[in-house]
């Protein structure tokens, strides 16, 4: 037995650029076919019209050893899903090849093939079979699955009567009890409530400790860091980096903030693609200044005043608009949220067109380190535009307490006093 579980050699996948609907109708195709034939006869030898294509994946080579947990990270559209689809044999590569040593189970989406009319019990068997389990295997694990999903009482009820939480729990429970040698996982941990997510995480690390090979795609850097020994960063369909998880995460974050690398105080948001623009790309730019209006270049000293200027557009006249800023650690943990709705003297006049909203933090007391800023704009109490990883800001060590001693632990720094109670 070789010690390699997955090896990929120059894997590539090319898609035709869609001209609207992915599928055709005979009604359209038959005349088009006739026209095509006529054209070909007319212009024999004058060269073929080139179809527009793009490579979703190109030259991707890597190896995953047996028992290794490999993270796959990258921004949306970097080719992660395409890679997983090829490895789980849902689609074919256009070039290159991959060798897979062992049985593959993929969790590209939990609950695939669930039928609402069938009971929980029936769906366990059906879904298990779809995921590639043998009937005997499912029967042996049945009780364990039901207990994990916490649906004992409703096991003979059609799943259409399940709450969404129960549905997801059952689906994940089946998936979690798959026992392939190689498991391909895509963001399935983002299901259910927090307690269940913790349980899933526990199950995943248990699985990985059991010597299973896992390929794991996630946007949650904390989970990637926790579960994976190695990771690769995909960028525009190519591997930008592969190696240790921490380094890979650093690469990913740099990639997310590309164009603004190395001490810039101003981040252009119009180029950011990791966003949810329900109304449109309204957020334009975010800038960091000190309280003396000096641009924050290399970083801001711990405890100094920070001014954040947010440039955005209001498409229609409104007085109901708010901006939120989330300061997150490099691993996606929210440390501090600033929001204009917390401002007691919020401007109430009606505004339209380009705006600059300034947020003043009199003293930024986050622990020295680098933070990622998420930004969102609400209009009429609904999310209008949101940019993940919009900017990055570094907090520099400083003599905050005036004692020459610097804090070395924790998430925030706070002024505090000590005295002896007489």
């Amino acid at each position: 037995m070789s010690s390699i579980a997955v090896e990929s050699e120059c894997l590539g996948k090319r898609y035709k650029l869609g001209t609207g609907a992915p599928y055709k109708t005979l009604r359209e195709s038959l005349p088009a076919f006739a026209r095509g034939a006529a054209r070909r006869i007319k212009s024999l030898g004058s060269g073929r019209a080139t179809e527009e294509t793009f490579w979703a994946l190109r030259d991707v080579s890597f190896q995953v050893k047996h028992g290794e947990v490999m993270g796959v990270i990258g921004r949306n559209g970097a080719g992660k899903s395409t890679l997983l689809k090829i490895l789980s044999r849902i689609t074919w590569p256009t070039e290159g090849r991959a060798l897979i040593h062992g049985r593959v189970g993929s969790l590209l989406e939990v609950g695939t093939g669930f039928h609402p009319e069938l009971s929980g019990r029936e769906n366990i068997f059906l879904n298990g079979a779809i995921m590639g389990m043998r009937r005997a295997e499912i029967a042996a694990k049945f009780d364990e699955i039901v207990a994990f999903a916490e649906v004992e009482k409703f096991i003979d009820t059609p799943v259409k009567h399940y709450s969404s939480g129960m549905y997801v729990r059952l689906a994940f429970a089946i998936a979690a009890h798959l026992e392939p040698e190689i498991l391909i996982v895509d963001e399935v941990l983002a299901v259910g409530d927090l307690a269940f997510q913790q349980k899933c995480l526990g199950k995943m690390s248990e699985v990985s400790k059991g010597g299973r090979t896992i390929l794991f795609v996630s946007h949650n850097m904390a989970v990637v860091e926790k579960l994976c020994q190695r990771a690769m960063v995909l960028h525009d369909g190519q591997i930008e980096f592969q190696g240790g998880t921490e380094e890979a995460i650093q690469h990913y974050l740099n990639d997310m903030l590309s164009g603004s690398r190395g001490g810039s105080h101003s981040f252009d948001l119009s180029q950011c693609d990791d966003r949810r623009s329900n109304v449109g790309r309204l957020l334009k730019r975010i800038e960091f200044y000190t309280d003396d209006e000096l641009p924050v270049l290399e970083g801001i000293r711990l405890g100094a005043g920070l001014k954040v200027k947010v440039h955005f557009d209001l498409p229609k006249p409104t007085r109901n608009f708010d901006v939120g800023l989330g300061f997150e650690s490099m691993y996606g943990q929210r440390i501090f949220t600033a929001h204009s709705m917390f401002e007691p003297e919020r401007p109430i006049g009606e505004r339209v067109g380009p705006q600059v909203f300034v947020c003043e933090v009199p003293s930024l007391t986050l622990m020295p380190g680098t933070y990622v800023v998420k930004i969102w704009l609400d209009i009429n109490h609904a999310e209008a535009d949101l940019v993940n990883l919009a900017a990055r800001i570094t907090v520099l060590e400083a003599d905050y307490y005036g004692t020459g001693k610097v804090p070395w632990n924790g998430a925030v720094v706070m002024r505090h006093n000590w005295y002896l109670d007489q």
Binding site: Y23, K24, T25, R89, T91, E95, R97, A98, M131
Partner: protein, 290 residues
């Protein structure tokens, strides 16, 4: 810690079968149908058939009755119009039995083709998320139809009792004709399901196709109405072979379909092989297109 790990590795190797290697490459040659591979997934096929059957009988108010009523009502109508009013000959067999024995395979065929044509599009969430040989999906629809066929067949037995018809030794040929019916449905289903993924208006042609096809098949009339010199050619419609075969095997005194059955068998073989090849060719695009 180190010993712990090696220990758990060892138990895993013991409990799992030898590890197989899969090579993922751009395209396998199209003539490699990978039919052997299909067997690994027979349990999934079973579950899909079971799901289809279960859901159908759960969702429809009439359930099993539906499987029987459809051919029975059609037989009633045809018996009145073609048997009584138009006095179409029925080879010496009571006209209702004559039609019903043909309606049973015909309804099976028409339903199986309709179901399997739509099967790939209906299972698109599976196709986009999980790997398995795609062939299983239209196959499942064709097999699931056999349950309805079974119920309709029970009624046929009752009907033959009522009219006092006993099949002769030819009944041993019945499985052959049933197999021919299944293969015909699968062949047409493969073509239609793969076409339906590429061209979404194919499904609108199905009901027209089956109606037209029924009258091209000796369901309401005996094939003896077709001039003898055309009859062998008539076998190019495999369902003509199936219907004649059913009558021959079950009704005792019906005439042997003769060489026509070989023509039908050959036509099905060609249609099925072509369907498999076409399906295989299109298979690689299903997940991207559907």
């Amino acid at each position: 810690m180190r010993t712990d790990l090696t220990h758990s590795d060892a138990t895993i190797q013991l409990s799992t079968p030898p590890i197989s290697t899969v090579i993922l490459e751009p395209r396998k040659p199209f003539w490699d149908l990978e039919l052997g591979h299909l067997w690994e997934y027979h349990e999934l096929l079973f579950f899909l058939v079971w799901r289809d059957v279960k859901v159908r009988y759960k969702q429809t108010a009439l359930g099993v009755a539906w499987a029987v009523l459809q051919p029975l009502l059609a037989t009633l109508i045809f018996s009145i119009f073609f048997g009584r009013l138009a006095r179409i000959p029925s080879d010496g067999v009571p006209y209702p039995v004559f039609v019903y024995v043909a309606m049973v395979p015909w309804q099976y065929f028409a339903n199986a083709v309709t179901e399997s044509s739509n099967s790939l599009v209906a299972s698109q969430n599976l196709i986009k998320k999980v790997y398995f040989p795609r062939l299983i999906i239209p196959m499942g629809s064709v097999i699931a139809g056999l349950v309805d066929f079974g119920f309709a067949f029970l009624v046929l037995i009752g009907m033959m009792f009522y009219y006092g018809i006993t099949p002769g030794r030819t009944i041993f040929l019945f499985p052959v004709f049933l197999l021919l019916a299944v293969c015909t449905a699968l062949a047409v289903g493969l073509w239609m399901s793969a076409l339906n993924v590429q061209y979404r208006d194919v499904k609108y042609t199905i009901s027209f196709l089956t109606q037209f096809w029924m009258f091209a098949t000796p369901v309401v009339y005996p094939s003896s109405l077709v001039p003898a010199r055309w009859r062998v050619l008539y076998g190019l419609n495999p369902m003509a072979g199936v219907v004649n075969g059913f009558r021959y095997a079950l009704l005792g005194k019906a005439a042997s379909p003769g060489p026509m059955i070989w023509v039908s068998a050959a036509a099905v073989a060609v249609l099925l092989l072509g369907g498999l090849l076409y399906f295989r060719k299109m298979e690689s695009t299903f997940a991207d297109v559907v």
